[in-house]
Amino acid sequence: MDFDVVFPSLVAGRLLLAYTNLPGALRHDHQLSTPLTSYPRLQEGLYLFHNGVDPYSGGLFRHSPLLLSLFSTVLPLNRYTSPLLWTISDAVAAWALVQIWRARQQLKSKSSRDSLIAAVYLLNPYVLLSSLALSTASFENALLLLSVMFACRGQASPTLLTLAVTTHLSLTSALYLPPLMLLLFTSPVSFLASPRPYPFALQDILKKIAPFVAEYAVYMAVLTGAATLVSGGWGWMGKTWGAVMTLPDLTPNVGLWWYFFTEMFDHFRPFFLMVFSIHLAIYPLPLSIKFQHDLLYAAYVLTGLLATFKPYPSLADAGLFVSMTALFPETYAHMRTPFPALLVHLHCSLLLPLFHHLWLGSGTGNANFFYASTLVWGVGMGLGVADAVWSGLVAGVKGGAKKGGGDLAWEEWEITQE
């Protein structure tokens, strides 16, 4: 099907859906939006800001001051503009995903898979429902995909600027900096089947990276300064970025942090907060080194890991990971557990809302019900991520074997690890 037809019709369909009465019920849903991305909290912050109360003096509003200034001046949020804004954001994200695909395939024009990729993003239930719930995670996803798109095109400044904005909105996105910076030097074209080292001398890496890091730091500083000016103080920092570090709001979500820190002994809380935060920072470098031949793939694996381990993850983060899978059809053949992972996801999509309702709605279940389903969800995400790493690496092994010793009959050979 023609992309020019499919894409507008998908966006139009999304827009119609956004204007129905359905979204109202979703806005308070804990799986679709977290305290950091929830729409009612954004509205509350805007209301307080309008009425001269510092929204960061309380604990309900944890969005960036830039969103506050944007929505209180240029783009006022109401029931007519909000669905439109969120749909546009998703359309931009889907478009960026298609552009990434084209850059990876080195296509200058349309391809037959464009429509499929756009549909995989726009019709992904995780993305769709989060966007209907008006979670600001949709903006974060769109900005991150834009950043990746710019990186694929080798445009350094736009990449770093969009990544800085993403980081400003959600601090954990800073972890995308290593793979995206390295992606700027390398090519987005798939080298999964033929691994190669970095196409530059390792001694030069610091020299090459330093200006990028500096530029990123300048963007971050400017955004921080702007945010401080807008909110009239430094109070926003503790409430937005600080929340990622200290987890003051224990509202349930699909992640692993909230119940862990609900049940944590008070004297161990700082220690485990540190461990959980540092655990997140472990992944970017090893992934960037192991997948030095294909840094887009490293970024993709990282989306999956962050969607699992972020302090305040929502289904939108998982949706980004699932949708990005469409970019790497060359790995499908090597996946070990695609079907179990799919089943676990299906299982969770029933289990999560059901147990959430049993615990908090009807009061017939207890907290362990929902906690157990987030564990299952974590297993599902873990299966997906581990399978992504496996298939990405195995593609290289098989590709290497093919290059070295002709075609192997794979029924007689097995790939294992030493």
Partner: protein, 537 residues
């Protein structure tokens, strides 16, 4: 005997110069058959000044009191408190049937508020902490729990009842409520100890805990205020709504002091400057059974306990009534307020306040919410509906302090306009937060009591002068917060960590270990060889 009397007179002549004590009991029968009894024991320390906070670091002047309660005086001076109000109440005051109370602080549970001067080495918050801990010790109440998570400064509603000394530049208000606090004998005993005659003589004889704590509503209060030109006044108050219909076997509402309190007054308190019992007489049907009153005003009669014959047992009878019939038609009071928390979800809800103004004139009222962070408002969702028509203009928010989780309550001060003869409903979405497991009380599933809202109807006719505005308390709310499983900490730590280790392990296993290609045929052969080798051994 004569010597003792002489001594007593001498003491009284000394003390009356500086300290005066007066006691008063107001008994008013209500339309629902109950009797409201309001005790007030007032001690005035003449020409005394509240301690200057700037001199807190210096040695304090020595304190010699004869009638003024020393234990309380020490607390006041140690923390340089200008004005103090502590109330401990149980039950919900029924404004409709019982009318407006003599002592206006009738919010359920404990309420403590104090005005104190600035300029001390210690901040107002430190002194507030000392004050509530000292009062907690003095009155055996859990006032220590009135910490930062419950302390606000609602200056519009809690204006000083006395005067603030001019010497000190500015004054600070601290206010806290603890709706779950219970009042019982252990609070009354220290209360009685503060009285000059304890419960041995005078009106205080009637404070019989067996009856008071069996009342439909009961509450005690300690009020300290500074009056310019007069001195420092301490008023110890006790209010109880007793139900004679419940006590009597024949369903009659006849009452006497002995039937209400199981005691009568045997002797008067010798140091009391005045000792009055005032009985409000209902318009018709009732007759006073007991001795001739000392004074007879319109609608009320008074007894001077020091002069009338003892034992004194005032009573009231309704001779024409065979039995008491409970009035089913509630008379509309001028302002009726009903506050409820709606919604069954444990993470969100809706607060609804319905105000009915049955007067034929517009009423303006201030509205105060001092809500712990256990319930957080979505102020943007505040809507006002007046008789079915949206009227958001009827509410204007004067100040709002948003809550901080685990730290600070929210404070909402607003002004409402109630059109004549109308019903106004305020609704607001609320968020119920999730607590750490250590923050839950032992009976977590019971829910949390939330403090009452306070309304102060503003009199439209008031012009200048010191107008005493009267506070109206709503009932308290109970919020049902989601609870974690309290037996799970270790399990959660183990299971979450296992999952993280599992994913971390499998990812890093793949990333770090080398991949090799193994021939299945060769492996099979090796396995067979190995097997044979084992068999040969």
């Amino acid at each position: 005997m004569i010597l003792t009397l002489l001594f007593l007179f001498a003491v009284c002549s000394i003390c009356s110069a500086e300290e005066t004590f007066s006691e008063r009991l107001i008994l008013s029968p209500n339309r629902d058959g109950t009797v409201t009894s309001s005790f007030a024991f007032t001690t005035l320390l003449r020409d005394a000044q509240p301690r200057d906070p700037a001199k807190l670091a210096e040695e304090d002047e020595s304190q010699h009191y004869t009638l003024f309660p020393l234990a309380l005086g020490q607390i006041l001076r140690d923390n340089a408190i200008t004005e103090l109000h502590l109330t401990l109440n149980a039950g919900k005051w029924d404004y409709q049937n019982w009318g407006y109370p003599e002592e206006e602080g009738v919010g359920t549970g404990a309420e403590l508020w104090a005005w104190m001067g600035e300029g001390a080495m210690q901040t107002a918050d430190e002194r507030w902490k000392n004050l509530r801990n000292a009062l907690a010790g003095l009155f055996c109440a859990s006032l220590g729990s009135l910490d930062e998570q419950r302390t606000t400064s609602p200056v519009l509603t809690f204006q000083p009842e006395g005067d603030l000394p001019q010497a000190s530049t500015s004054h600070e208000l601290r206010h806290g409520t603890l709706p779950s606090e219970n009042v019982c004998t252990e609070n009354l005993t220290p209360f009685l100890k503060l009285l000059p005659c304890k419960a041995r003589s005078g009106i205080a004889t009637l404070l019989n805990p067996h009856r008071l704590f069996d009342a439909d509503w009961h509450g005690m209060g300690v009020h300290v205020r500074y009056l310019e030109g007069a001195g420092i006044e301490v008023r110890l108050a006790f209010q109880a709504v007793l139900n004679p219909v419940r006590y009597s076997g024949d369903k009659k509402r006849d009452w006497s002091l002995s039937s209400l309190f199981d005691r009568s007054i045997e002797r008067s308190c010798p140091v009391a400057g005045s000792s009055d019992i005032v009985v409000q007489v209902p318009p018709f049907g009732a007759i006073i059974t007991e001795p001739a009153p000392s004074a007879n005003n319109a609608g009320s009669i008074a007894y001077d306990v020091r002069r009338v014959d003892k034992p004194l047992d005032v009573g009231m009878r309704w001779p024409d009534e065979a039995w008491f019939e409970y009035p089913l038609d509630a008379p509309p009071s001028a302002l009726m307020i009903r506050r409820t928390l709606k919604g069954s979800d444990q993470y969100k809800g809706r607060l609804s306040v319905v105000l009915t103004n049955s007067a034929m004139a517009e009423v303006k009222t201030s509205y105060l919410e001092t809500m712990p962070w256990l319930l957080q408002f979505y102020l943007h969702s505040l809507r006002v509906i007046c008789d079915g028509i949206p009227r958001d203009d009827l509410v204007s928010i004067i100040s709002y302090t948003p809550p901080v989780p685990h730290a600070r309550p929210s404070l909402l001060q607003a002004l409402l306009t109630l059109p004549a003869n109308s019903t106004v409903e305020l609704t607001m979405d609320v968020v119920k937060p999730f607590l750490r497991y250590t923050e839950h009380p032992p009976d977590a599933h019971r829910g949390w009591d939330l403090p009452p809202a306070v309304f102060v109807p503003l009199d439209a006719n008031a012009t200048g002068g010191r107008l005493r505005l009267r506070r109206v308390y709503t009932s308290v709310l109970l919020v049902d917060l989601a609870v974690p499983d309290f037996s799970m900490p270790y399990n959660v730590i183990i299971m979450s960590c296992t999952l993280i280790a599992l994913i971390f392990g499998s990812v890093f296993n793949l990333l770090t270990r080398k991949f090799v290609v193994v021939s299945l045929a060769k492996a099979k052969r090796a396995a067979v060889d190995n097997n044979n080798h084992v068999r040969r051994d």
